[in-house]
């Protein structure tokens, strides 16, 4: 009896040990990078920063010095992926190129808050030179993780940094953290919808009640709608399973629909588009990707551009030209027009030349 007991315990321990061994084995590769960044740590980064300062303007080539950054993205999502891509492009435009003088660790929290905080803690632990946080919860968690350190955080795709308490009402950062906001150009969008649809009265918006970004966008739409003669019809959902029914109800009641940067709703865009097409109701997008997928038009953001702008800010911090705590968060400079002529033809709508002439990009197909 006793002997058996012991054997079973041994079996359990072996299993646990094997598991840990498995985990560490798969870690051996990454551990080496960790030790590198440990030694590199702040001293090298500081030295590098000083070097660039003294060597002056050698901007055409890559900046000397090695940088390690951690990118934490809150969820897998087209716009956010574009942000990340743009961010790395922005850095390389400033001479900080991945694989040459930049080591990038990327992790996605898949919308799990507890994993988000562990990702940021692991970045802090491995002593990265900078953390890039994509989307609001990731930025908040990165700020919490770096509070007692001197690691700067650069965020992007945070709609309202003031509401998230990452900046005060004047836009000054609350700590060593700054970045870019993806606040929608609501006024420009309303102006554009009015120009395309002079008769429309009711503008529908669908949003997820759990997304604080969406809430502030909807509030802004409501505030400005009457200036352009619109009445906003809102439809709040709690999960993507609610979308088909909510779309049916909403489409019965409105003349047109506008998308906002709501993660859940955007992910189900095809459902809404096909239902709207059946009723011949135009759907406006909030960024380039949505117009590609079949929204009529958008006065919106290009997340790659937003990412680039963020990358430039990060480069300044890495090179030691500025402290994150001294830089106010930035909005994307100007909204641009995106239109889809295929969708317009299907709806029997002609996009006014005043808009198409200044379009950033026009599409004539619908991406499946």
């Amino acid at each position: 009896m006793k002997k058996n007991e012991l054997m079973k315990r041994a079996a359990l321990f072996t299993a646990m040990a094997m598991l840990t061994a498995g985990l560490t084995a798969c870690g051996s590769g990454a551990e080496s990078t960790e030790s590198v960044s440990d030694t590199a740590d702040t001293t090298v980064a500081e030295a590098a920063a000083e070097e660039t300062e003294t060597s002056g303007a050698s901007e055409e080539s890559t900046v000397s010095g090695d940088f390690t950054i951690g990118i934490g993205q809150f969820a897998e999502h087209g716009s956010l992926d574009n942000c990340r891509e743009g961010f790395l492009q922005g850095l390389s435009e400033e001479g900080i190129v991945e694989g040459e003088n930049l080591e990038v660790t990327y992790n996605n929290a898949n919308a799990d808050g507890s994993i988000a905080s562990q990702i940021n803690q692991s970045y802090v632990g491995s002593g990265v030179d900078l953390i890039c946080a994509i989307a609001t919860p990731m930025a908040q968690s990165a700020y919490a993780a770096t509070k007692n350190t001197d690691i700067p955080v650069i965020y992007t795709a945070v709609t309202d940094p003031v509401a998230a308490e990452l900046a005060d009402a004047e836009g000054t950062p609350v700590g060593n953290i700054t970045g870019t906001s993806d606040k929608l150009p609501v006024e420009e969008q309303l102006k554009m919808v009015r120009e395309i649809l002079p008769e429309a009265k009711k503008l529908g918006i669908m949003y997820t009640t759990s997304e604080v970004n969406s809430e502030s966008s909807v509030a802004e739409y409501k505030e400005l709608a009457s200036d352009y003669g619109f009445e906003i019809v809102e439809s709040g959902i709690s999960t993507s399973a609610d979308i088909p029914l909510a779309a049916d109800t909403l489409l019965n009641d409105v003349d047109c629909v506008t998308m906002i940067t709501d993660n859940t709703v955007v992910a189900s865009l095809p459902v809404i588009l096909s239902k709207a097409a059946a009723k011949n109701i135009p759907v406006f997008g909030s960024e380039i990707e949505q117009v590609k997928k079949g929204c009529l038009a958008a006065m919106g953001l290009d997340y790659v551009e937003l990412g680039k702008q963020t990358g430039h800010m990060a480069a300044k911090v890495l090179k030691g030209e500025a402290e994150a705590s001294d830089m106010s968060f930035e909005l994307i400079a100007g909204a641009s027009f995106y239109g889809n002529t295929k969708v317009a033809a299907d709806l029997g709508i002609e996009l006014p030349a005043s808009l198409t002439d200044s379009a950033a990009e026009m599409f004539d197909t619908v991406e499946e």
């Binding site: 079996a11 590769g29 996605n108 898949n110 799990d112 808050g113 990702i119 491995s126 998230a164 709690s238």
Partner: protein, 297 residues
């Protein structure tokens, strides 16, 4: 590297408080309580709302606990009085709490960075000098966890605590003692969810914000912590079950941290957790089987 270890302890200790609750329901009452997914963020919502309104961070503790107790009571009443199956009553309550949490917090995401918390206030900053400030959070959490553990241990040794333990393992005894086993169950669920909400509130103070989705998967983490802890220390008689649960919680978070640091896609973590989970359960089942065989032989 040190920060990673500190991080593991910070996260592990907070989830340990929640796991003490899951230990009561899952181990003692044999009740798989899914309402934890709702009560954990409920505690955070209450805490965020109170602190944003200017309340003292310490006041948020009992308030979060009470909110959890109320929600746990609802689960208990649905199960015991309305005769809804255990899993379903938990699902119903956690579903409903989503809306409650939104109402309580006001919006889906509330930041309290600018406010004092138990981890960041003038007193803590004065007590812990700059050099060991990074340890402050772990030390404070450690004290809270020990207090919770000791209180729970003391409670389990009271008359009411004995009844609670009896309700799970031998409910006829409870009836024989002329006590209502339903009431005992409700009481257990109330305390368990109180702990879960308390943990959520502490997490909210530590991370500086509330997010309505922060509860997703809490119950799985709780179950994993309880199972890992109690299995490892099953035959180590001097380690109390409550201590084992706390250590299990830290081990679990350490595994997650190792996985992230070795470059594993965090998206795969849930699968790894599931496999780890299953592995431990299967091994412990094998042990039971052999026990039976031995008993027969």
């Amino acid at each position: 590297m040190n920060t990673i270890i500190l991080g593991i302890f910070e996260e592990g200790l907070i989830y340990a408080i929640m796991s003490l609750g899951v230990y009561i329901t899952y181990k003692i009452l044999d009740f798989p309580d899914l309402s934890v997914d709702g009560t954990y963020p409920l505690g955070a919502a209450v805490t965020a709302a109170l602190i944003a309104a200017g309340a003292n961070p310490l006041v948020a503790f009992p308030m979060a606990f009470i909110a959890g107790v109320l929600a746990g009571t609802v689960t208990g009443v649905i199960h015991v009085k309305l005769k809804v199956r255990d899993l379903l009553s938990g699902i119903i309550v956690s579903l409903g709490l989503y809306s409650v949490n939104l109402r309580v917090a006001g919006t889906a995401n509330v930041s309290i960075f600018s406010k004092d918390s138990i981890f960041n206030n003038p007193i803590v900053n004065a007590v812990f000098p700059e050099g060991i400030k990074s340890l402050a959070t772990v030390i404070i959490l450690f004290v809270i966890v020990i207090v919770c553990k000791v209180l729970l241990d003391l409670y389990l040794n009271t008359r009411s605590g004995y009844l609670l333990r009896a309700a799970g393992s031998n409910d006829r005894l409870v009836t024989a003692l002329a006590k209502d086993k339903g009431t005992v169950k409700i009481l257990g669920l109330a305390i368990a969810n109180g702990f879960a909400a308390l943990a959520g509130g502490i997490m909210c103070q530590k991370q500086g914000f509330f997010d309505v989705n922060m509860g997703t998967g809490t119950v799985v983490i709780g179950l994993a912590n309880v199972i890992i802890g109690t299995r490892i220390f099953k035959n180590v008689s001097f380690v109390k079950a409550t201590t084992a649960v706390i250590i299990g919680s830290i081990i679990y978070k350490a595994c997650v941290a190792i996985a992230i640091n070795c470059g594993l896609n965090p998206g795969d973590l849930k699968l790894i957790t599931a496999v780890l989970f299953l592995g431990i359960l299967v091994i412990s089942n094998m042990k039971k089987e052999r026990h039976k065989k031995n008993a027969q032989a």
